[in-house]
C-alpha cells in the first residue's frame, strides 16, 4: 500500500497493560494465561463480499502471504463459492498481523480459534 505501518498487536499491548497494573502474584498468572493463549493456533478467515474483484483478492493473497498464483486463486474461489476461506493458520500474533494487513486491503477478514 502507499504507506506501510507497523502496529503494535493488541495482544502485546494488553500483556504490557497487565504487567504494569496488578500485584506481582497476579502478574505471573495473567502472563502465563496470555502466553498459553498466544500459543494456540488461530485461523485467519476471509469472507466473501460482492464488491472486491476476484483478481484483486488473488493479488492480495499473493502479495500478503507470498502464495503462488494457483494457490491464491484456489483460496479466492473458495471465498467466492463457499462464502469464506481459511487463508492462514498459526500463532495469534502473526494471525492478528495478517488480519490487520488483509483489512488494510479491505478484505472482510476475521480471526477465530483453529480448534472451533
Amino acid at each position: 500500500m502507499g504507506t506501510e505501518i507497523h502496529s503494535s498487536s493488541p495482544e502485546r499491548l494488553r500483556v504490557r497493560a497487565a504487567t504494569t497494573t496488578v500485584d506481582p502474584g497476579t502478574i505471573e498468572t495473567v502472563t502465563e494465561k496470555t502466553k498459553g493463549d498466544l500459543a494456540k493456533p488461530w485461523n485467519v478467515v476471509v469472507q466473501n463480499d460482492p464488491i472486491n474483484l476476484m483478481s484483486y483478492v488473488t493479488m492480495v493473497f499473493q502479495k500478503v502471504f507470498g502464495y503462488p498464483r494457483q494457490k491464491a486463486e484456489l483460496l479466492m474461489m473458495e471465498v467466492h463459492t463457499r462464502g469464506r476461506s481459511i487463508v492462514w493458520t498459526g500463532g495469534r500474533e502473526p494471525a492478528e498481523h495478517y488480519v490487520r494487513v488483509l483489512q488494510q486491503y479491505h478484505l472482510w477478514t476475521i480471526l477465530e480459534p483453529a480448534e472451533q
Binding site: M1, S7, P10, R100, I110, L111, E112
Partner: protein, 171 residues
C-alpha cells in the same frame, strides 16, 4: 468517454492517459468520496470486528482501526495530490494525462478499491446487483452508484494488470 490507459515508463513511472472530462470527474470523485464522514454501515464493513471476543474487538477498535484509517487517508490524499498535477495530453485532443511515481500506484489502488466498497456498503449492494446487466440499470441514485462501482472496477483492473511484478510482502 474515451479509453482510459495505464502504462509504465522505462523508469518505472506510471502514465494514466485518455482522461477526458468524464474520467476526470470520476477520478476526482474518489478522494472526495473517501474524505466524507461515512455512515456506520460503511465503517462496519471497512473496519469489521475481527473476533467474537468483545475484549479483543475493543482493543482492535482502539489500537488498529485508527492506524488503518490514517493509512487509508494518506492513500486517498496521495491520489488527490497526483490528480492535481494532471496536464493536457499533447497526443490526444480534449484529454489529459497524468504521471505519478511507481510507489504511488498502491495508494491509487487502495483508494479506488475503498471507494467501490464505500459505495457498495452505502447502498447494501448484493451479488445480484453486481451481476445485473448494465442495460437494466435505471437513473436512480442507487443504480448510478452501482454503475460507478463498475466503472471504478475497470480502473482497478488497469492497475492490477499493469502491475504484474508486484513484490511479495513478508510478516
Amino acid at each position: 468517454m474515451t479509453e482510459l490507459r495505464l502504462s509504465r515508463l522505462p523508469d518505472g513511472q506510471y502514465c494514466l492517459s485518455g482522461i477526458d472530462e468524464g474520467w476526470e470527474h470520476i477520478l476526482a470523485g474518489v478522494p472526495a468520496l473517501l474524505a466524507e464522514q461515512q455512515p456506520p454501515s460503511v465503517r462496519e464493513r471497512l473496519l469489521p470486528n475481527p473476533t467474537r471476543n468483545e475484549a479483543i474487538n475493543r482493543d482492535w477498535r482502539e489500537l488498529v482501526a485508527p492506524e488503518l484509517e490514517a493509512l487509508w487517508r494518506a492513500n486517498y490524499e496521495m491520489m488527490a495530490e497526483d490528480l492535481a498535477r494532471m496536464e493536457d495530453d499533447p497526443d490526444q485532443r480534449d484529454c489529459c494525462r497524468l504521471f505519478f511515481p511507481e510507489n504511488h500506484a498502491a495508494a491509487w489502488l487502495s483508494a479506488i478499491n475503498q471507494a467501490r466498497l464505500v459505495l457498495g456498503s452505502r447502498w447494501d449492494v448484493t451479488e445480484a446487483d453486481m451481476t445485473r446487466p448494465l442495460r437494466k440499470l435505471t437513473t436512480r441514485e442507487r443504480d448510478h452508484d452501482i454503475f460507478l462501482i463498475h466503472l471504478l472496477a475497470y480502473v482497478e483492473e488497469l492497475f492490477i494488470e499493469t502491475d504484474e511484478t508486484w513484490p511479495g510482502e513478508t510478516v
